[in-house]
């Protein structure tokens, strides 16, 4: 099974809209939404959830205030500024220490060194994993809990699950909708990829961010291809993108023109290629056929 990961660096360049169209055009592909922070692919695919699983991202520390002697050792050791001297009193102490659950990195150092054994260090559920059915086949997606961490781990889990299903169904392609940026969740989504499709736009920001994703691809030895979305918004910048692509050895798999029909399709909860046949849909179909060629 081949693996296509759609990225952009900069947000809002059209990753999810493009992946939804790919889902409609592909036959026998498995889909994975690896933007676990702000998953939107499900809005277009209207999935029927078959299975929901809790995601345990790691552990978090919590002070049992009744046992705290307010010695301050935990605060001294914590490198994440997660411990505050404003917890409730307990008869022995007027105030105790408190761990800010959002700031806690789950390193467990405070719990290990607390002489009173007053800190519990337990696994926490910080997200959900969904396996769903859609009109285009199976979709594995997730939702990280609000203000939670370990998005990279959840992304890895989404991909593992998608691969497992893909292999059992003998799918020939896994299409991954990535998240913006180049950090932890993006790096997790690229592992094992055969091709990174970088969706960019002809703006200085789009180019700047695309170059960082291309650099990331090089860093991990994964080939990249580029799709220029809304290319006609600034033809000069589109030309620059083509220059950078050839310098980088990345193929331009297509240019998609700017068309408000893309938003209309989204409002109607349809992929662009389902909503319309001409113009922008033709551009997308061309991108898809070029991507398929590159993957085979």
């Amino acid at each position: 099974m081949k693996e296509l990961v759609v990225l952009s660096g900069k947000g809002g360049t059209g990753k999810t809209s493009l992946v939804a169209s790919f889902a409609a055009l592909a036959k026998n592909a498995i889909l994975a939404d690896c933007d676990v922070d702000a998953p939107d692919l499900c809005i277009i695919l209207s999935p029927k959830m078959l299975e929901i699983k809790d995601f345990i991202g790691g552990k978090k520390a919590r002070i049992m205030h009744g046992h705290c002697t307010a010695c301050g050792k935990c605060e001294e050791l914590c490198r994440f500024d997660a411990i505050f001297y404003d917890g409730p009193g307990n008869g022995m102490q007027d105030k105790t220490f408190r761990i800010d659950q959002q700031a806690c990195e789950g390193c467990g150092v405070c719990a290990w060194f607390c002489e009173e054994h007053a800190i519990e260090f337990k696994e926490v559920v910080n997200g959900k994993l969904f396996i769903s059915n859609t009109r285009f086949g199976e979709l594995v997606h997730a939702q990280l809990g609000i203000a939670e961490e370990n998005s990279g781990k959840l992304v890895t889990l989404v991909k593992e699950k998608a691969k497992e299903i893909g292999e059992s169904k003998k799918s020939d392609l896994l299409i991954v909708d990535g998240s913006p940026g180049i950090g932890c969740p993006v790096i997790a989504s690229t592992s094992g990829a055969n091709l990174l499709l970088v969706v960019t736009e002809p703006t200085l920001s789009g180019i700047h961010d695309m170059e960082r994703v291309l650099h990331l691809g090089k860093h991990f030895n994964i080939p990249s291809a580029i799709c220029i979305n809304k290319w006609d918004l600034n033809e000069e910048m589109s030309g620059k993108i083509e220059e950078i692509a050839s310098r980088n050895g990345s193929k331009i798999v297509g240019k998609i023109k700017y068309d408000r029909v893309v938003i209309k399709a989204q409002v109607n909860k349809l992929s662009v290629v389902e909503y319309t046949d001409d113009g922008v849909a033709k551009d997308i179909k061309k991108v898809w056929s070029n991507v398929r060629t590159l993957l085979s």
Partner: protein
């Protein structure tokens, strides 16, 4: 006052709003700072074109094991929650990319065989754009941990000034680090199903963190009116609306400041400040 500009969805116009807001404010006062916390993909410099005065590295400590002192007791790998230090055969191996820099292995080692070395994970640049103090962080390509770089950016904030913080997209740790301790968050969204879905998540996040906020709808004349309905239903203040103006898109693509190219928009950002002050005194 610290004001963060954030959004769940990427590409809604955070940087456009944050940079133009900073510029509009700076025309009436000299204590404005712009802090780009989108360290994975910082873009503010493209628009504010700062003169960089100071460059620093951002480091994270990683353990180094003195194999001569090590007795292979295994305590270090036992305390490590990130599988960053493991015993393989007769050797302790460190995986720097996995390390959170918590220091646990260093303190738990009974032989004092572990010391720390600094590993560069990003860069910090300090400068000036006109009379605006400009700071941004840049995560090194291939590094996973954005929060320590964001923290370094925020340490440059000057007390008793007006600081505009440009946050990364999403709702997870880099965003939390960026908006921690701010007085107000401007949520930038667009009136589309994706925009609304991500706005809901961000609103939930801010309610959980108890930070006051309001919404700015960018390109308000595309999509549908579900975002406005959501805001009025939740009693969320609509701070401002910006139209889908082709002149904005064109100037954005070239890295130009909207209020310099299309001066009529300056009042939008001055009004934004007034709206924030009113919302905070509500």
């Amino acid at each position: 006052m610290k004001i963060a500009v954030a959004s769940g969805k990427g590409g809604t116009g955070k940087t456009t709003v944050a940079t133009n807001f900073a510029l509009a404010l700076s025309r009436n006062r000299d204590d404005v700072g712009y802090f780009d916390c989108d360290v994975e993909e910082p873009n503010g410099h493209i628009f504010l074109k700062p003169q960089i005065i100071k460059r620093n590295s951002v480091f994270l400590p990683v353990p180094e094991v003195d194999q001569d002192l090590c007795t292979l007791c295994g305590k270090c790998s036992e305390i490590c929650q990130y599988s960053a230090i493991v015993q393989l055969g007769q050797k302790i191996l460190v995986f720097p990319e996995m390390c959170s820099g918590c220091g646990g292995c260093l303190w738990v080692c009974p032989e004092k065989a572990i010391s720390e070395i600094n590993r560069e994970i990003g860069k910090l640049e300090n400068g000036k754009s006109g009379n605006i103090k400009f700071v941004h962080g840049i995560l090194n390509v291939g590094q996973t941990r954005a929060p320590p770089v964001i923290k370094a950016v925020k340490e440059e904030i000057v007390k008793d000034s007006i600081s505009i913080i440009d946050a990364p997209p999403g709702t997870s740790c880099p965003v939390i680090e960026s908006i921690k301790g701010v007085d107000f968050v401007v949520l930038v969204t667009e009136p589309t199903p994706f925009g609304l879905s991500d706005l809901r998540l961000t609103v939930e996040m801010l309610s959980k963190l108890k930070i006051p906020f309001g919404v700015l709808i960018n390109r308000y004349d595309i999509g549908n009116n579900e975002v406005s309905r959501f805001c009025s239903g939740r009693n969320i203040r609509l701070l401002s609306k910006i139209p889908d103006d082709i002149r904005i898109a064109k100037s954005y693509s070239k890295g130009e400041m909207i209020i310099s190219v299309i001066p009529e928009y300056e009042k939008v950002f001055n009004n934004l400040y007034n709206e924030i002050i009113e919302e905070l005194s509500r």
